[in-house]
């Protein structure tokens, strides 16, 4: 019985959020753009095979303008830009989601336990987070990449490490506001264990701000990854990634400006979509703005 009621409540909450989201036109536009880019990443091999099109050199057709050869033209090795954009979307999205997942898991665990137990543990852990935050995040990510080397996985870790304190703070402050709520006291009073209270009551109730932080975090992780790849420390050629495509194109800024314009537009569109969606979710999840 109890389980049914809870399930019902949860569904009610999600559908209410969805109803409010649907009314927000800019958030829906963000969602549509994001879905298109995700589909492009999933079906990248249909747009252009990785080995046969996206990384295959064809010097005879190099630096072709858009529409002359393929939708977006070709780069300095004659590779099809559309196929490279699609495969680049795959890399960017994997890094964006992956980095957020890693920092959410670690930051979330740190923040939740700090907020839940409080006291000296909270104090020590959060001071450590302050120290990590004292290093500008770009610089910390650079240092980690310098130690680990480039590549998708290392890039993901580097970006995640620099973001952990942000998640720890958000989760901690949400937990703190909820910890003293009456229903937590009630759960404790009926003899629920710590793990049960955390998993059943605290985590579902702090989800709102965390979802918003994650949505915006994916965007900023994608930007960070592109930046590191741009300076040659992230995803390495020949694997296409939007940041390293831009860095390879810099030499050809005069002869083939489309190589600079197109990857940047996709980067900006993806991040804009995530920002619109994040802002929309924040409004939809905030009960004070309830219609």
């Amino acid at each position: 019985m109890k389980r049914d009621r809870q399930q019902g409540l949860k569904q009610g909450k999600f559908s209410a959020v969805w109803r409010r989201m649907k009314k927000n036109r800019t958030a829906m536009a963000g969602l549509v753009i994001l879905i298109i880019i995700i589909l492009m990443a999933i079906f990248a091999d249909l747009i252009g095979d990785y080995n046969e099109v996206a990384t295959k050199m064809d010097i005879a057709n190099r630096l072709m303008a858009p529409m002359k050869k393929g939708l977006f033209g070709t780069d300095h090795y004659g590779r099809d830009v559309l196929a490279r954009i699609a495969h680049g979307a795959r890399v960017s999205l994997i890094i964006g989601f992956g980095a957020v997942l890693v920092s959410l898991v670690f930051g979330g665990a740190i923040g939740a336990t700090a907020g839940f137990y409080g006291g000296r543990y909270d104090n020590i852990v959060m001071r450590c987070m302050d120290i990590i935050m004292a290093i500008p995040s770009t610089i910390l990510a650079l240092a980690v990449v310098a130690a680990l080397g480039g590549g998708i996985f290392n890039l993901m870790i580097a970006i995640a490490v620099a973001d952990i304190p942000n998640y720890a703070r958000v989760v901690r402050s949400s937990v703190l506001t909820i910890r003293n709520a009456d229903y937590i006291e009630a759960a404790n009073a009926v003899g629920a264990g710590t793990a049960h209270v955390l998993a059943r009551h605290i985590i579902p109730n702090v989800l709102g701000p965390i979802i918003v932080q994650c949505t915006l975090g994916i965007g900023s992780s994608i930007l960070n990854a592109a930046g590191l790849s741009y300076i040659g420390l992230g995803v390495q050629a020949p694997r296409p990634e939007w940041g390293n495509m831009l860095s390879e194109a810099r030499e050809f800024i005069q002869s083939a400006p489309h190589l600079i314009i197109i990857p940047g537009i996709f980067l900006a569109l993806t991040v804009l979509a995530l920002n619109l969606l994040g802002d929309g979710l924040r409004d939809a999840l905030d009960p004070r703005l309830k219609d």
Partner: protein, 309 residues
């Protein structure tokens, strides 16, 4: 108040210790023997072993860290693996470029961003407000280095008005400063708009209007003075972020600042140079944040009052 300031300044010590410890540990994990790196691939094993011994690379981790910190306190950050130059001297030579870049950018951000934010708030839902909200959203979604490349494409390649790279004269600073300003403009404009919107609805503003104060006087005297505190904080925060964000923009425009020094150091795995630049950047970042907090206490009478007792 004095106690608060002393406490905040003392807090710098664990921060610097912690930051240098983190960076030192990360760099310690880095594979490869520095002695091998200095001597090149031709070196004999004996020579490598001897140099490792001289450099103290065989010492335990904590001894190495302690030695590094002893140097740091005296301002000695070691010497570059690549050319043997003093790391502190290299950083000192590059720092002015980054500082100039960050300072001019933040000035641009204030000159453009704050007035736009104020106008948006006063004329909420007007055309200017709509345009600035959309523009802020779009600018915040664009990668800084791409904005730089686009500006370069427009002003250096198409119009041929400004030089694309270098740092020889003030003309070289225009594009990088515009780039950094564009990235940070959005945050400041949004912050100014939202605090002004909040202030405009306060009772004392209504009182001022009821007394018959002119609109200009209400905005300038009653709203601005109270609304500027959070804006100043965000500007200062952006300033410290700018110093970190300059890394990418410096590489786009090939400016010889701290950021490009760090990137070259990483490319050539020059550990002392990497560590030195990162620690110096982190210390600058922390000091700026400290100054912001102290300024906050000085400017806002409500915070001052908390410590008056």
């Amino acid at each position: 108040m004095g106690k608060y300031i002393a406490k905040r300044i003392l807090w710098l010590i664990p921060i610097v210790l912690g930051v240098s410890f983190i960076i030192f540990s990360i760099m310690y994990l880095k594979p490869g023997n520095p002695a091998q790196l200095i001597l090149g691939s031709e070196a004999t094993q004996e020579a490598i072993d001897q140099l490792s011994e001289e450099m103290g690379l065989n010492e335990p981790f904590f001894v190495q860290y302690f030695n590094y910190m002893k140097g740091l306190i005296r301002g000695d950050l070691g010497s570059s693996y690549r050319n043997g130059n003093s790391v502190s001297a290299e950083i000192a030579a590059r720092f002015p470029v980054t500082l100039r870049l960050a300072a001019f950018s933040i000035l641009l951000v204030c000159i453009i961003g704050i007035p736009i934010g104020i106008i948006s708030a006063i004329r909420q839902y007007s055309v200017i407000d709509m345009v600035s909200v959309v523009l802020a959203l779009v600018l915040a979604s664009m990668p800084s280095f791409w904005i730089g490349l686009m500006l370069m494409l427009l002003f250096s390649v198409q119009l041929q008005l400004l030089p694309p790279t270098g740092a020889d004269s003030w003309i070289n600073y225009i594009l990088p400063c515009l780039t950094l300003a564009a990235v940070n403009l959005a945050v400041v404009t949004r912050m100014t708009r939202s605090t002004m919107l909040e202030v405009i609805r306060q009772d004392y503003v209504r009182t001022a209007r009821a007394k018959g104060a002119g609109e200009g006087r209400v905005v300038m005297k009653h709203c601005l003075k109270n609304g500027m505190i959070p804006v100043l904080t965000i500007v200062a925060i952006q300033f410290s972020k700018l110093i970190g964000g300059a890394v990418l923009v410096e590489s786009v425009f090939a400016m010889p600042g701290l950021g490009s020094l760090l990137v070259t150091a990483i490319r050539s795995s020059d550990t002392p140079l990497i560590m030195g630049s990162v620690i110096v950047l982190a210390i600058i970042f922390t000091v700026i944040n400290l100054v912001i907090d102290l300024l906050y206490a000085v400017i806002d009478p409500r915070i001052r009052a908390q410590f008056a007792k």
